[in-house]
Symmetry: C2
C-alpha cells in the first residue's frame, strides 16, 4: 500500500484546456448557473451567449464573462460555435429544454435535479439515443467537493478495502426570504428527494461502483413548515446496489442559523478494511470544510482536501463533448442517479399525514 | 431557553442508594457481566452469589466483590435476600433463564441481546404478565454512555426542537482470537441485528419518544469473513415510529486496528431546530470519547460529556425493583426494542448471496 501522504501528493490535477469550445447559458433560475459557467470557463471553455426571461440576470452574467445577451434562443442555435448549452432553469423545465437543445445538435449541461418526472427522464433518454448528444448533469455535492473527489480516489486505491455501505446526509439552510415561488411548488421543484436527494443518489452509485441499484425505502415529510404544504422539508432514501453495497441518505431544510455553513453535509463510507468520513462544508466547532477523515489499519488521519484534487469533471466534460468519449461521467450513470431519486420521490412514504 | 452550560451544570446526578438489595450473577459468557455487576454495586446493591459452568470465571468475579460461588442455581433461589439475577450468558440461553428466574419470584437483569428468537420474547412477555416480575435489559450503548444520556436530556429540554430523524452507527472490532465459539453460531448469537443491533433499536425508540415502531427495511451480509459463514459481519435496519420519526442503523465488525477504540459508535439526532451528534467512543484524530456536538440557533458547541450525567439507570433499576415502579425503563420499551431487532433480523435481506 502506498503511503497516504505520497498518494495524495501524486494526484494529477486537471489542466486548463487550450480550446475554442463555446457554450451558452440558458435559464438562470438557480444560482448554480454561476459556478457551472465559471467552472467551464476555468476549464477552457468560452461563454458566448446568455438567455433568460429575466434580462437583468442575463445581463449580469453576460457582463461578467464578456458574453452576449440574446432575446431569442434561436440565435444561440444559429451559431455553430456553440457546442453546449448550460442551464439551471426551473427544475420542471430542465428536461424539455435539454431535449430541445439536443435536437438542435448541441450537448446539454444541466444543474441537478435534471428532471422532475420519470416521463421527462424517459424522453431525454430517447432523444439522447436518437441524436447522439449528451445530457451532462451537475451533481455538485460530489463534483465540486474536493474531499468527495479525494474519497473516490482513496477508495479506488484500496485504502479502506471493499466498499460496503454509504451514509450520506445533505441538510440545507432554507433561507426563506431568498427563495423564489417555484421552490415551494411541488410540480416545479419535484420534491426534496428529486431535488437535493439527486446528489445523494449520484454519490451512492459512484462510491458503490455499481449503477444497477434500486430504492429499498424512501419517505418524505413536512415537519416544520406547514405554511408551505407542498414543500418537503425532510426526505430519506435507502438504496441497494446489485453488488450488495447499501446506502442511506437523509436530506432536509433544517440547518439552524448557528451553523457556520449552509449545511453539515457528510458522507460516511464504510469499507471492509477502514472507513472514510467526508465533512464537506464544515467541521463543527473546528471550522473549515473539505475535511476527509480516514481510518484504517495504519491509524486515524485527517486530511484538508483543499487543493488536493482540483475539479477534473469540467475539463473531462469539455473533452468528452469534443471527442465523444465518456470520461467525466457516463450517460447511463447520470441517468441512473436521476431515475433513483425520481423513483424514491414518487413512491415515498408520507411521514406527516399530508394528502 | 436555558443557557446550555447552565442546563448541564444543573443536571442532577444519581446518588448511591442506602439499601440491602441483594443480587446474584448467573451466566458470565459475555464480559458485559462485569460492568453490569460493578454498576449495580456502585448504585448500592450487593452481589451475593455467582454461578457459571466455568468455575474459574465464577471464582474470579465472586472474589472481586466478596460473593459466594455456588454450583447449583437452586442455592440462589433458596436465599430470600436475592432480589434479582443478572446474566450475560450465551444469548440463546438468556430468555429461558429469565423466565426461570421470574418464575422463582425474582427480577432479571440481562445483557443485550435479551433474546435470539421472537418465541423467546413472547414467552418472557407471558411470564412477566403471570408473575409480575421484571425483565430488565442492559442496553449499554445508551445506558452506559454519558453523551447519549445527555443527548436525551437536551432533546427533552428543547435544545434542538422536535426530533425528526436518528442515524446510529455501531461498528465493532471483531477481535477474532478473543471470541468464543458461540460468537460465530447463528443459533446461539442470533445474528448481528439481534445482537449489536439491539442497542440501536433501543436508542431509536428512546430518542423518537415513541415505542410504537416498525421495521421499514433491514439487511445483513458477510462481506469479509467467509470462513465464518454464519457470522453476519454487516447489518442495517431502518425503523419508522408511529409519530413519523425515522431512524437508520448500521452495525458491522469492521473496526480497523488503527482506530483508538473498539468502534466509532455515533448517533446523529436531527431536530427541526438543531442537531446533536454523539461521538461515543472516540473523536477521530482528536481522541477521547463521550463527546456531544450540538448545533442550534445559538451556535456550534462541543461538550465533553464525562461527569455530566452519571449513570442513573442503575439506581433507578434497583428502586424500580424494590418499589415496583418503572422509572429506569418501562418493560414495554425494553420488549419493543427487542421485538424490533428480532423482526429486523428475521426478515432481513441477504446482501452477500448466502443461503
Amino acid at each position: 500500500m502506498t503511503n497516504l501522504q505520497d498518494f495524495i501528493r501524486n494526484i494529477r490535477k486537471p489542466v486548463r484546456l487550450d480550446t475554442d469550445y463555446g457554450f451558452a447559458a440558458v435559464g438562470l433560475d438557480h444560482g448554480h448557473i454561476n459556478s457551472m459557467c465559471s467552472s467551464l470557463i476555468e476549464a477552457g471553455a468560452t461563454l458566448l451567449y446568455v438567455y433568460d426571461r429575466d434580462m437583468k440576470k442575463a445581463e449580469a452574467l453576460a457582463a461578467k464573462h464578456g458574453a452576449v445577451v440574446v432575446d431569442d434562443i434561436r440565435r444561440i442555435y444559429g451559431d455553430d460555435r456553440v457546442k453546449l448549452v448550460a442551464s439551471a432553469g426551473i427544475p420542471n423545465e430542465r428536461g424539455p429544454l435539454g431535449c430541445d437543445v439536443m435536437r438542435h445538435g448541441r450537448d446539454y449541461f444541466v444543474d441537478k435535479a435534471p428532471f422532475t418526472t420519470l416521463e421527462q427522464l424517459h424522453e431525454a433518454e430517447k432523444v439522447c439515443a436518437e441524436t447522439g448528444r449528451k445530457y451532462f448533469v451537475f451533481y455538485s455535492e460530489r463534483l465540486q467537493s474536493e474531499c468527495s473527489i479525494l474519497a473516490g480516489y482513496l477508495l479506488e486505491a484500496g485504502f479502506i478495502g471493499r466498499a460496503v455501505n454509504l451514509i450520506g446526509t445533505g441538510p440545507h439552510r432554507i433561507g426563506l426570504p431568498t427563495r423564489p415561488g417555484w421552490f415551494f411548488e411541488r410540480e416545479k421543484y419535484g420534491g426534496i428527494l428529486c431535488d437535493i436527494g439527486s446528489h445523494q443518489a449520484e454519490q451512492f452509485l459512484y462510491y458503490s461502483g455499481c449503477d444497477d441499484a434500486r430504492v429499498t425505502h424512501s419517505a418524505i415529510g413536512n415537519f416544520k413548515y406547514p405554511e408551505y404544504p407542498e414543500l418537503d422539508d425532510f426526505g430519506e432514501m435507502h438504496l441497494t446496489a446489485a453488488n450488495g453495497v447499501t446506502g442511506y441518505h437523509r436530506v432536509d431544510w433544517y440547518t439552524p442559523d448557528g451553523l457556520k455553513s449552509w449545511g453539515d453535509g457528510r458522507c460516511y463510507l464504510e469499507g471492509t478494511e477502514g472507513f472514510i468520513e467526508m465533512r464537506k462544508n464544515v467541521d463543527i466547532t473546528v471550522g473549515g470544510g473539505n475535511k476527509l477523515y480516514l481510518t484504517n489499519a495504519d491509524g486515524e488521519f485527517v486530511i484538508d482536501a483543499r487543493g488536493t484534487t482540483g475539479f477534473p469533471y469540467f475539463t473531462a466534460l469539455i473533452r468528452d463533448s469534443i471527442e465523444r468519449t465518456e470520461t467525466a461521467m457516463t450517460q447511463s450513470h447520470a441517468f441512473a442517479a436521476a431515475r433513483l431519486c425520481l423513483e424514491a420521490q414518487k413512491y415515498a412514504i408520507e411521514l406527516t399525514g399530508r394528502k
